[in-house]
Amino acid sequence: MKKNVILYLLLIVTSLPLAAQQRIVTAGSSSSEIVCALGYCDNIVATDRTSVYPEHLRGLPSIGYRNSIGAEGIISQNPDLVILEEEYVKDALVDQLLSTGIPTEIVAQDRSWESTRIRIDVISEALDEEQEGRKLIAKLEQELAEVKKLVESSDSRPKVIGVYARGAGSMQVGGTNSAFSIIELAGAQNAVPEIEGFKPLNTESLIQANPDYILFFDSGLKSLGGIDGVLKIPGVAQTTAGKQRQIISMNGVKLTNWGPRLAEAARELFYLTHPEDHAQRTDRPEK
């Protein structure tokens, strides 16, 4: 018995530092957040530029952005595990990492609850924390169920158009299968369902779609000069959203990465698009 206790103690003592020592590199904000949600935030030693939540990730060495992320940069961090989001990094990178033998997990970047679930599964398995993973999924499912209740409690299904903007010269609207797919989850409908993916903003289409709300990333709204700046864009003033100054914004990463903050994002978007339910809110969104 004593021997067993000592053995178990030794095991725990030796595995603890091992767990603490596991060096993880992530590329993709959703994956970074999942790793953190599973309790391994301190193990992330380097990450990409889009991984800004939790805040302290910003201070980590950055491996770059999108397809400027290079293999050597990742390898130089001596990772024990690399998590990459497919279609976010360049194909050559995947091959190069795989050739080094470093454990690499590639997760899909699709925006659907199913995909989020699979991502949590894959990552929790790679971390040897399947149970934690299942708990996280259960928690998210419950949160999403609550959001669903909220949505069903309201009759309004306002039309929302999501715009990805980087200054007035670069504006793209998101249709189906775009980063703005969360719109449906929040009890609204995409004003331009006929558009596939992202397409440049077109004044006539905007007026025709006549959204009730125009949704931006916080950064995008800022780049256009706030709500007043947006109202100056041709076509906006002719829409319901423009007439009623229903220009809304949310943190871009939270809004679109379909990560662990999915339900939170959906709820926040719900309240932004259903102000009549705002008064009955029992919680406050965190910005």
């Binding site: 770059g64 397809n67 290079g70 050597e72 130089s76 961090q77 360049k90």
Partner: protein, 354 residues
């Protein structure tokens, strides 16, 4: 006395080329040990020993990074740098003006259009095409795109047997604008995959280097380099004017064709594999001419060596300045090349070359 003079001249050319080659080798060695992953000279020697079977093989990270990631990338850089430097010098000789460069006169843009055409249409419409065909179609169409752009600039830039470099550059502006439009439309219809490739094309990227791609790049660029080096002497004569070169015995139309074809090949293949990297062909030949001589028999090979060296240097910067992230290589060459172009523009204006 005369023999000393002539021997001295060819000696000095050989000496210069040897120095430049030594510089290139030195930079290459530096590049081997520079990068996000720490690899020392001792590591390099050990890995060489491992490959030769002299030392026990450990297949460690350093070895894999050096042999699968860094070495192909460095060879890529050397070949593409040489291709860009040499074709810049050759085109300057052909158009008789130091302001000419494949990027500026639109050849790189034309090549990019050709490459994008293949990626967008051939890959998706003809998936049953053999792997090898897909690999070779890309540089082929890049070459054709670059060739079309070169012919266009030839037509625009030459009137009454004189070269009007202003029109050449304007023609380049036109082609680049057209290419940007086509690339824009292509990414409009493309799925996300190709959208992110936009920066690959416009800012260049040497990191996609693999040994497989080197098997295609090497013979094509090698062919272009050898062919272009052979027209050094006629290019000297062409510097006096096409009519004058003809009278001196140069087969002018044939030389022009060779330069057009091989420059388009060199640039096209480089763009297909690494996107548009500009200014190398502008900066290097000028520095060579100012530092040494305008004799194309030196300028051409020296531009190849110098181009490779410059790109290696730029690549080292790209890989270290924001490590572990990387800067796009085209941004670095532009940061150096664009101010250089402005300076060159001013000085040629003073000398009334435009």
């Amino acid at each position: 006395m005369p023999s000393v003079l002539t021997v001295r001249k060819s000696n000095s050319q050989t000496l210069t080329l040897s120095l430049l080659a030594a510089l290139l080798v030195g930079l290459l060695l530096c590049s081997l040990v520079v990068g996000a992953v720490s690899i020392t000279l001792a590591d390099v020697l050990r890995i060489i020993g491992q490959k030769l079977g002299v030392v026990a093989d450990t297949k460690d990270t350093a070895q894999i990074v050096l042999l699968s990631i860094r070495l192909p990338r460095l060879l890529f850089t050397v070949l593409i740098g040489a291709a860009l430097g040499l074709s810049g010098a050759a085109l300057q000789g052909l158009f008789r003006n130091p302001l000419v460069e494949p990027g500026i006169i639109g050849i790189s843009s034309g090549a990019a259009v050709g490459a994008i055409f293949v990626i967008m249409f051939v890959g998706t419409r003809f998936p049953q095409l053999a792997e090898w065909a897909q690999t070779w179609l890309l540089p082929l169409f890049s070459f054709l795109g670059g060739l079309a752009a070169t012919f266009f600039t030839l037509r625009i830039g030459q009137a009454e047997r004189r070269v009007h470099v202003t029109y050449l550059i304007l023609g380049g502006v036109a082609i680049s604008a057209l290419a940007a439009a086509i690339i824009g439309i292509a990414t409009f219809y493309a799925d996300d995959n190709q959208l992110r490739a936009y920066t690959f094309w416009t800012l260049g990227d040497l990191s996609a280097a693999t040994w497989d791609k080197l098997h295609v790049l090497t013979p094509l660029v090698g062919l272009a380099i050898i062919g272009l080096l052979a027209v050094a002497r006629p290019l000297n004569a062409i510097a006096l004017g096409e009519a004058e070169a003809y009278h001196s015995g140069v087969a002018v139309e044939r030389v022009k064709l060779i330069i057009v074809l091989l420059s388009a090949l060199a640039v096209g293949v480089s763009v297909a594999f690494s996107g548009i990297i500009g200014f190398v062909g502008l900066v290097v030949p000028h520095i060579i001419r100012v530092s040494f001589t305008s004799d194309q028999r030196l300028v051409l090979p020296a531009s190849a060596l110098g181009g490779a060296s410059l790109l290696l240097l730029a690549d080292m910067l790209a890989r270290t300045v924001v490590s572990p992230a990387e800067l796009p290589i085209g941004a670095i060459t532009a940061a150096v090349g664009a101010p250089f172009f402005i300076y060159l523009l001013r000085s040629t204006q003073k000398r009334q070359l435009i």
